[in-house]
Every structure is written in C-alpha cells, then in structure tokens.
Amino acid sequence: MISDILGVFARPEFPTLLRQHIVLSVVALLIAIVIALPVALLIRNTRVGAAIAINIGNVGRAVPSLAILALLLPFLGIGFWTALVALAVLAIPPILINASTGLREVDKGIIDAARGMGLSGSQILARIQLPIAAPVIFAGIKTSAVQTVASATLATFIGGGGLGDLIVLGLQRRGPEILLAGAFSVAVLAIITEVGFGFLESAFTPKGLKIAQKRRGK
C-alpha cells in the first residue's frame, strides 16, 4: 500500500498538480495582502472605518469556503482563474481583521510620546505603529496562508486544479492509493506552511518586543 502511494508521487501528473496548488495558494495570498494591508492602513485612524472592516471581516469568515468557490462559478465559469479569485477573497478577512486591530491597539501613550518627540504622522506609522503591530499583522497572514493552502484543495470542484484533483480522482476511480497520496501531500503542505510561517512570525517580531515578552515571562 505504501509503495502504491509512493508510486503516485512518481507519476508525471504529480509535480504539475503540486505546482498548481502552490501557485494558486501563493498568488491568492499575495493578492489578499496587497488588498487588505493598504485598506487597514487607510482606515487605521477612523473608528467607523475600522468597525466596518472588522464586521466585513467577520461576515467574510462566516461564509464557508466551498460557498465562495461555488458562488463564483455561475459568474466566472469553471477553471483556474475562478479558483484564484475565490481563494483571494477568502484570504482577505483574517489579514484585514488582524492588521486593523493590530494597528489600533498600539498604546495611545506611546503614540503621544512619539508625537511629543516631534515625529510626523508617517514617521509614527513607519517607526512605531507598524513595528509594534507587526506580530499581530503577521499572525493574520499566517492564518490566511494555512487556510488558503487548505481551501486550494477545493479548487478541484470548480476545475481549478491542484492536489484536490488527486483526492477526487481517487474517490471516483476507487483508487485508495491516489486518494491517500493526495490527502497526505495536502496535509504535509499545510503543516509545512503552518510551521514555516511560525518561524517567520518570530522573525517579524521586533527585538524590543521580544525583550518585553520575556520580561513578562511569556
């Protein structure tokens, strides 16, 4: 059985599907970052804007990923691009929520102190708010990344390709080795994403914050 599963990895389709899966996930995540981060920056000083963003984000999180993929189907048709759009839409809420709460939760006292030292609005953003909010923002990107890799498995249902194709093919042809090869490779890809972003997360935490965390005994 194990050699059968390994045999699937040796087939010529496997690298293609793996590449599709990675391209779908990476591009969707990048699109979501490019949309969500500037929006979070724009609304960082308005209470109404932040409330709207967080509510949109919360509703967005309640929409099942399969629902978004399937709902785009009648409008955009079958294929890679529809899956890409759906995955990008799905990846936005966690980044938007974390970025806007992270930026808003920077201690007002610190910002006042920076203003008192004569820093301009953009200097405060670049040197104070962004570094302090960086770990929270990055945690949102991590959540999105893991979720995107998982949801990219569903792209197969709307003809978007990726490793989900193996799972569906295995089910249809009653080929347990194809099914399990697909399942294991997707699971490993998701766990690698989770662990990899975990390392990046600590790299994105400014030194000063790490010292503070240690002092608090975290």
Binding site: A62, L66, S151, G159, A183, A190, I191, E194
Partner: protein, 233 residues
C-alpha cells in the same frame, strides 16, 4: 466550443435567471428543508461531542501544565490538515467508510484545538484570590472547580464554542462530497448539474446558519458575563 468554461457560460446565458424561484418553491420541502436539518444535525452533534472530549482535556491541561504542550501540538496538527484531506483519510479506514460518520469525526477533530485552548484560557483567567477565598470558605477542590472556576471560565469557553461552531458549519458543507448530507449536497448537486439556483440556495443558507449561530452564541457569551454588564451600567 470544447472549453468547459465557455460551455458553462453559454448555459448561463441561455438561462438568464440565476435564481429559479419556481424550482425553489417546488423543492422546498423535499430538498432544501432536509438539507438544512441535516446540516444542523451534523454541526450540533459535532460540537457536542467535541465539548465532551475537550472539557476534561482542557481541565487536565490547566491543572497539569506539562500535558498542555503535547495536547496543543497534536490538536494543532489535526486543525491544520485540510478538511478534504482528512475526509479522504477517514473514509479509507474500512471501519469508517462513507456517510455522516467520517464527517462528524473530522468536525470533532477540528473543534478540539479551539475548545481546549479556550477552556485553558478560561480557567487561567480565574483570579487566584477568588480560588483562595473559596478554599478559605472550606470548599473542596471538586467544589471549587464546579462552583467557582468553571462558571467564571464559562464566557471564554462559550467564545471558543462560537468560533468552533462557525468553523464547523462551514466545513460541514464539504462533507456532502463524501455523502455526509447537509447543505453542501445542494452546492455539489448545483455544480454537477450546472444549476446556479441550487448552488446559491446551499451557499446562502450555510452562510446564514453560520452568522445566526455566531450571533446567538455571542448573545449567550454576553449573558454569561453578568459582571461585565454590571460594570457597564
């Protein structure tokens, strides 16, 4: 016109209405209501079973701190396995097979991390002075747990139930692919028949269910924090 995307587009163009109200009316009792009920059943059973498992593990993890890291490691790995992959692995086990069973097992597995984490956070949030006071009043450890710690931890535990429920309602739609039933069946049928009405019905109802469950549990969470309400007033 061999491109499937073009063929589908043609279908959509020939069928100008995205929502076929007549179909909805005719199939309301036969298709839509059972799918909705099935979805509630799957989600409710899964959250209930997950709570039965997560509460004792959470209480143990809060007591014996050494247990906690391995528990979060294992449940964290379960949580990051994509649902379709977990479904696929479960149905390959002969004793499980197709149907609602693998769906419920997977949904329980997904809830564990969130529920255990919030149980521990809830118990941690109880001030040590409160526990000291309870001990001073002569309460036993068991009494302290059930009468002091758990009630005070309840809002945070319910917050975990809220996140888990919304997640589960979403993932349960995918369970229809392995014959688990529920609203996902409408979505998959709609995709296979290229019939947008079914897709929209399934997607909108699943989203509505998630939002309603979220709001109801948010209300419960607030109701369970009488001290926060008192402070605000």
């Amino acid at each position: 016109m061999s491109n499937p995307a073009l063929l589908l587009l043609q279908d959509v163009l020939e069928e100008p209405k995205l929502i076929d109200w007549e179909w909805l009316r005719e199939n309301f009792w036969e298709d839509i209501v059972p799918a909705f009920q099935g979805h509630i059943f799957l989600s409710f059973i899964s959250v209930a079973v997950a709570l039965l498992i997560a509460l004792p593990i959470g209480i143990l993890s809060a007591r014996y701190r050494k247990v906690y890291p391995p528990v979060t490691f294992v449940t964290g790995i379960l949580y990051s396995i994509p649902s379709l992959a977990l479904f696929a692995i479960l149905i390959s086990i002969p004793a499980v097979g197709l149907g609602p069973t693998p769906v419920i097992i997977a949904l329980v597995a997904y809830s564990l991390l969130i529920l255990i984490r919030n149980t521990v956070a809830g118990l941690d949030s109880v001030p040590p002075e409160t526990i000291d006071a309870a001990r001073g009043m002569g309460l036993t450890n068991r009494q302290i747990l059930f009468r002091v710690e758990l009630p005070l931890a309840l809002p945070i535990i319910v917050a975990g139930v809220r996140i888990a429920t919304v997640t589960i309602i979403g993932i349960a739609t995918i369970g229809a692919y392995i014959s688990g039933g529920g609203l996902g069946a409408l979505i998959f049928d709609g995709i296979n028949r290229q019939f947008p009405t079914m897709i929209i019905a399934g997607a909108v109802l699943a989203t509505a269910m998630a939002i309603i469950a979220d709001l109801l549990l948010l209300g419960l969470e607030r109701y369970l924090r009488p001290w926060a309400r008192a402070r605000k007033a």
